[in-house]
């Protein structure tokens, strides 16, 4: 595992009063420390991503910031209000989209929005206008009278987003907004969030375990692992922080003990990771040069290359660099782990 990055917790835009300021925040459940003294701040109008595998502490962080669970120590300031001391003031400033789909399936789209507008005390005259606007924003206007249970997964997720915006919040928290969506719906949600950012000047903080989502949506990303913040920066900064400009994935038809050692000796190669038998992921400063060397090496040894691909450094490589393992490994593990019982502590 690489050493943690030099983390700058300051906002990218250098604003004096950030929208979100988190200082040495800790969450403990008995002896277990879910979040271990995390610091960061988010500027007004910024989209900030918390990236990490399941169980990294992302949802716990977001729940502390949105007043859902008490903070053990440290503090979180949202729009100038301390979460622990002024939770109601914080709640008025924020919109929250939880991980689960919590809109009532028996109610219509409009009824769901109306109930939440009332919960936020949106005046009656303003309510209708806000509902029309958010329905327009999430492209659900023609579904306003449809019962929520008749909507597709992507549409329901868009309704959740509309619900979080119905009271015109300044800061928008989204906990894994595209989990469970198919790729097409996921891209639609990304486009919608980008549109919202452009039209509403919203500050957004989202959690995700999708590299591509963080890469496409976020101005800055914080990588969270085991309750700590291991890296923070713009997607470009994070990728540049990883030694090696390219990633070469190579698959030999036969596994031998020497491959790892031989690959590490190639010019420009900074790291080699064995993915499976005969399958390696090589970080290199020059993808084309390493590719040539690999072909020559295989030819000289009489081995066959089953596949060979070259790509630029991705956030996956950033994650591997800072945590020593792949995010997709964690996701695969999570598939084989029973989900917690409903109502159990996170």
């Amino acid at each position: 595992m690489s050493a943690p990055a030099e983390i700058s917790t300051k906002t990218q835009k250098g604003s004096e009063s950030p929208a979100i300021q988190v200082e040495k925040i800790v969450k403990r459940y008995g002896d277990f420390e879910a979040v271990k003294g995390v610091d960061f701040s988010v500027a007004e109008g910024e989209i900030f991503g918390l990236l990490g595998p399941n169980g990294a502490g992302k949802s716990t962080l977001i729940r502390m910031m949105t007043t859902l669970i008490p903070i053990t120590s440290g503090r979180a300031i949202i729009s100038g209000h301390d979460v622990a001391k002024e939770p109601d003031a914080v709640r008025r400033q924020i919109g929250v989209i939880p991980q689960a789909l919590t809109s009532d399936p028996d109610l219509t789209v409009e009824e769901n929005l109306s109930i939440y507008a009332k919960l936020y005390s949106v005046p009656k005259a303003q309510r209708e206008k806000n509902i029309n606007e958010v329905l327009e924003a999430v492209d659900l206007t023609k579904w306003r009278d449809a019962q929520t249970k008749t909507l597709s997964g992507g549409m329901r997720r868009r309704l959740e987003i509309a619900r979080g915006l119905v009271h015109n919040p300044h800061i928008f928290f989204l906990d894994e907004p595209t989990t469970g969506l198919d790729p097409v719906s996921r891209i639609a949600v990304w486009e919608m969030l980008n549109k919202l950012k452009a039209t509403r000047n919203l500050t957004m903080l989202l959690t995700t375990h999708y590299m591509e989502e963080a890469d496409k949506l976020c101005d800055r990303i914080a990588i969270v692992d085991h309750g700590t913040l291991v890296a923070l920066g713009t997607p470009i900064q994070l990728k540049q922080g990883v030694p090696g400009a390219n990633v070469v994935e190579v698959h030999f038809d036969r596994e031998t003990k020497e491959w790892q050692e031989r690959l590490e000796k190639l010019d420009g190669v900074t790291s080699v990771q064995a993915l499976s038998a005969g399958f390696y992921r090589v970080l290199t400063s020059s993808g084309s040069k390493t590719t040539m060397q690999l072909v020559e090496l295989a030819s000289s040894l009489g081995e066959t290359l089953t596949s060979l691909s070259v790509q630029n450094t991705t956030l996956d490589d950033v994650f591997v660099h800072y945590t020593g393992r792949q995010l997709r490994d964690e996701q695969v593990k999570s598939v084989f782990t029973m989900p917690p019982r409903p109502g159990a502590q996170p």
Binding site: R91, V96, P98, Q99, L107, Y116, K118, Y120, S121, R163
Partner: protein, 370 residues
């Protein structure tokens, strides 16, 4: 306040969109009313009684004529002739016949001699309902046989004149107050218990908790909605049950007002109790597991099925703190006796205080965070 009513609005919209809750909450009490009301409290008909006649005299013939009259008229039992007393007793034991009457030798002579004549009745007392019914019929028959044909001008025996205050109350009518209370309990259990915990588990409450709604607004919003659902259930079952059982009290406006008061305070009491029990529960399995246990703990000690005066002391103590006791008593007072507010004042007071008390305890226990 508007936020509290937003919670009520959401719950009620959901309730009317899913009529399953309302139907299910009334299905069990209605079935109980119809099936138990018809199954219990009816008269025993068609039992078989063995007759072993060792006498064959004129008085024995009179008894057998009495048996024939019963078999033809009220049809409680028919007789089967036996020669062997031991066989008759064995057949009672094995269930071939329900009872055996033994008329001993010299019975007629002892009647005429007024020498303490006796008839034997062998009953299967493992079935108390049939045996007590047969005993009762036999007592009536014996009483009729011993009544002098010519009545003395001055009666020497003490007579008991029984005055029934209310029209005949069959078992279905007797069960109705219990069924109304049960419908409200099931509505609260499903609407206030199971759905409340399901919403928690699905994250609906997480959605509420990130809004500026206060703890008071949230608790009272949920409880008002739960109480309204129970009131609707109670009203529906009172009407359906009264019509099914043939009670006309619902057509008296004053009785309707008294019933409405009883239904409202019972809803508050049941809902408060359920909310207190569920306030810290997160697991959806808990209310489902508790359903049957609570039903037994609350319904049976309430006097709905059997008078509380017959209970042992510990069960009577349970009945005293059981809101079902007061609900059943109150409904019985109006539905069966039309007793007015005087007869339900203490029930109303207890149920109201119980409901408010449980809510007062539950409110600080309610967590404003996850």
């Amino acid at each position: 306040m508007n936020r509290m009513f937003a919670i009520v609005e959401r719950e009620m919209r959901k309730f009317f969109r899913s009529p399953v809750l309302m139907i299910m909450s009334m299905m069990v009490p209605i079935l109980q009313l119809i099936i138990m009301g018809n199954a219990f409290g009816g008269k025993i008909v068609g039992a078989h009684v063995a007759v072993v006649d060792h006498d064959h005299g004129p008085q024995a013939v009179k008894i057998r004529e009495g048996f024939d009259a019963i078999a033809v008229n009220i049809k409680t039992f028919t007789t089967v002739e036996y020669e062997d007393e031991i066989q008759a007793r064995e057949d009672v034991r094995t269930g071939k016949v329900d009872a055996a009457v033994v008329i001993p030798a010299q019975y007629s002579r002892r009647v005429y001699a007024q020498d303490a004549p006796e008839i034997g009745l062998v009953v299967d007392n493992s079935d108390p309902f049939t045996s007590s019914s047969l005993e009762s019929e036999m007592q009536l028959l014996i009483s009729a046989l011993t009544t002098p044909v010519v009545q003395p001008r001055l009666a020497s025996a003490i007579a008991l004149e029984i005055v029934e205050l209310y029209p005949y109350v069959n078992y279905m009518k007797f069960l109705l107050p219990c069924c109304v209370a049960l419908a409200m309990y099931i509505s609260v259990m499903i609407g206030g218990g199971m759905l409340y915990i399901d919403d928690k588990a699905r994250g609906v409450h997480e959605g509420y908790l990130v809004t500026p709604i206060t703890k008071f607004e949230l608790v009272f919003g949920l409880n008002i909605a739960g109480s309204i659902k129970a009131v609707l259930s109670g009203i529906s079952l009172t009407i359906i049950g009264s019509l099914t059982a043939g009670l006309g009290v619902i057509f008296h406006p004053m009785a309707d007002l008294e019933l409405l008061c009883m239904i409202v305070v019972t809803s508050i009491a049941f809902n408060g109790m359920m909310f207190l029990m569920m306030v810290r529960v997160d697991d959806p399995l808990v209310p489902r597991a508790m359903f049957g246990i609570l039903n037994i703990l609350l319904l049976y000690p309430s006097g709905a099925m059997y008078p509380t005066k017959a209970f042992p002391a510990w069960l009577r103590a349970l009945a005293i703190v059981d809101p079902f006791t007061y609900a059943v008593h109150g409904f019985k007072s109006i539905l069966l006796k039309d007793g007015g507010f005087v007869s339900i004042q203490y029930d109303l007071l207890f149920l109201l205080l119980f409901g408010l008390g449980t809510l007062l305890i539950a409110t600080p226990l309610f967590k404003r965070t996850l």
